[in-house]
């Protein structure tokens, strides 16, 4: 069980953003994709989920061996992929619990019984220390940055994907919220859920230890390693990686 990205080239309008990305995330692994702003991290996340604004010009996205490169986003979601958004959309007039029920049932043959749904929702809200009153609020409307991120992780917990992509989930979180979100991710990841954490900073990786770290620059993955790579990055910064990479390019 894995998400495998092969030689992915992606364009927005006329501009190529990703220039051949390879990445494989197994179901029992946690990966971190790091890189400075504008390096193409969010483009990769959006392309994995099939955002229609991003055009794949070359390469493949395979999920459990099946080619999903051309699949609609909702098919990918039902197949077991999930994206926690950096900037989640606001859905006025649709309550969080109502939305979650529709989403949960979209991947089931038989809808979940309301009582069971309520129980699971309650447990997950407790896990993420989200106030019960949130379930009747319109999705993301008037939510603070931290509340939105927690609501994203709540959806992750409810939908139980096989592979979750977390796009800058740590940005805009204060230390307490970061800890709650990290605890939530730690409780969910493991043998049945692979995780790709996309982040600019190493902060979240202190709480959620990755098995692998990939560094992206200008639409390419330029360095890969274990958790220690994040520590190195913390010490030496992206400029160091860039110099090293450009040096290699010139050589």
């Amino acid at each position: 069980m894995s998400l495998e990205i092969q030689n992915l080239h992606v364009r927005i309008e006329e501009r190529e953003i990703l220039h051949g990305v390879d990445l494989k995330v197994d179901k029992d692994q946690t990966h971190a994709l790091m890189g400075p702003n504008g390096s193409g991290k969010s483009t990769l996340a959006n392309t994995i989920m099939g955002n229609p604004n991003y055009e794949v010009t070359e390469g493949k996205i395979l999920f459990n061996g099946e080619d999903l490169t051309e699949a609609d986003p909702d098919e990918r979601a039902r197949a077991g992929l999930f994206l926690a958004f950096q900037y989640p959309a606001t859905i006025p007039g649709v309550r969080l619990a109502q939305f979650l029920r529709i989403a949960v049932n979209s991947r089931r043959e038989e809808p979940m019984k309301p009582k069971e749904f309520g129980k699971v929702l309650g447990e997950n809200m407790e896990l993420l220390r989200i106030d019960r009153s949130f379930s009747s609020r319109y999705l993301n409307e008037g939510f603070s940055g931290g509340e939105k991120k927690r609501a994203e992780i709540l959806q992750l917990a409810m939908l139980k994907p096989e592979i979750a992509v977390l796009d800058e989930t740590d940005s805009g979180l204060d230390i307490d919220a970061l800890r709650i979100v990290s605890d939530g991710v730690n409780a969910l990841r493991g043998p049945t859920m692979g995780t790709l954490i996309i982040t600019h900073y190493t902060r979240i990786l202190e709480y959620v230890k990755p098995d692998f770290v990939h560094i992206m620059l200008d639409g390419r993955i330029v360095r890969e390693g274990g958790a220690e790579l994040a520590d190195e990055l913390e010490e030496r910064g992206y400029d160091f990686v860039r110099e090293e990479w450009e040096g290699r390019d010139a050589a």
Partner: protein, 447 residues
Amino acid sequence: MPPSTATWLDEQRKQALDAYEAEPVPTWRRSGFWTTTLRKLDLESLEPRTHEPVDELPEVVADALAEDELGALVLQRGASTVRTFLHPELAEQGVIVSSLEDAVEQHSELVHEWYMRRLSHEEGKFPAASAAFWTGGVFVHVPKGVRLDKPIQSVYLIDEPGTAQYAHTLVVVGENSECSFREYCLGAPIDGQALHAGGFELYAQAGANVQVAHFQDWGPGEVYDISTKRVEIGRDAHVSWVPVHLGGRLTKQTLDIITAEQGSDMRHTGLYFTEGEEHLDLFTTDKHERGHTTGDTVWKGALTGKSRASYEGLIHIVKDAQETHTYLQTHQMLLSQAAKGDAIPSLIVQTDNVSASHGGTVGELDEDQIFYMNTRGIPRSEAVRILVEGYFEEVVQRLSDPGLQALVRRRIAQKLVAAEDQVAEFIGERAGSEVAPAEGRQEDEAA
């Protein structure tokens, strides 16, 4: 003109008739592409149709009416009042609910005191027509200090082609009274033309608290609705007014809500959803005639098919109405390529020391929202349905009655199902194009 024993009414009807005959059939033009014309209406072929009283509610009425315990009902089919009901509890409290015709006979002075205070036959051909020709009609009087928990409902039904329905509703809510009034304009599917020309006036006296809803669904027939509705709010009174437009071949309405005394407060919330060949032209005014009044207006619309919808909302604060605080927002959502509409908020402020602002959006479905829902496993067509229902939910919430809420939600869902293919095509084309959707926004502030 129907004769009555009230000479004051006969005199008013005669003046209205003179005005009607002097006025040409109007065409309403506004800047831009907008024109509302009646050239396809064969006015000469329409006439008032009379009907016998009924024991059972006609099907289209029974389907629509909210099921909560009814306080009173007046049902007008075509030109005739065919059923009235007044709960004994309300009768004991001195509440009057009847046809306006009966009220003129039985409560002539009371009707005379309020009738046409805020409406005039000098406003054009159709206001003159309804003032001259109305039959049946609705009269509601809630005396001072009465609080009703059961709603009062009236229904205008058109179920025959060739019908001209001239209507007049007069509602007076006494000092410190509370009530909920709902008026339904319903049409059975008819093959042919019909006209509803209506006048509506409601007076909430000092300290009253009134919930008013208008539910209009003339059905798929060729029904023209040209009406003027006016609500006046007295000192420290509150009115929440929710007009809902869900069907009619051509609708041209003027909807005005007036805070007439200090401390009066309005909440004005409208909804429309046009489809097929429908044409909707609404002009609303939130008029503040005195200072220390407050208002909050939200209008939301959606368009499918080849329909046309124009909403213009004006905030008017007159001279000396200082310390007025009011806000108007209007939103319109296009759901098909061939639909066309506009939503225009505007402001006339003739005094200072007020806060009045308005904002509006005319747009389409947001691709980011659809993508977001897709990533949760929700297919595109369902995402669209959820988004449109969610968009209207703010307005539906303001219909305080669960039965009416359910009716409106059901009709919105039906319209979305009916338009599913064209909506999918429309948003599909847009998703395939590389150009970001055009979204117009305008914000104005005057403080």
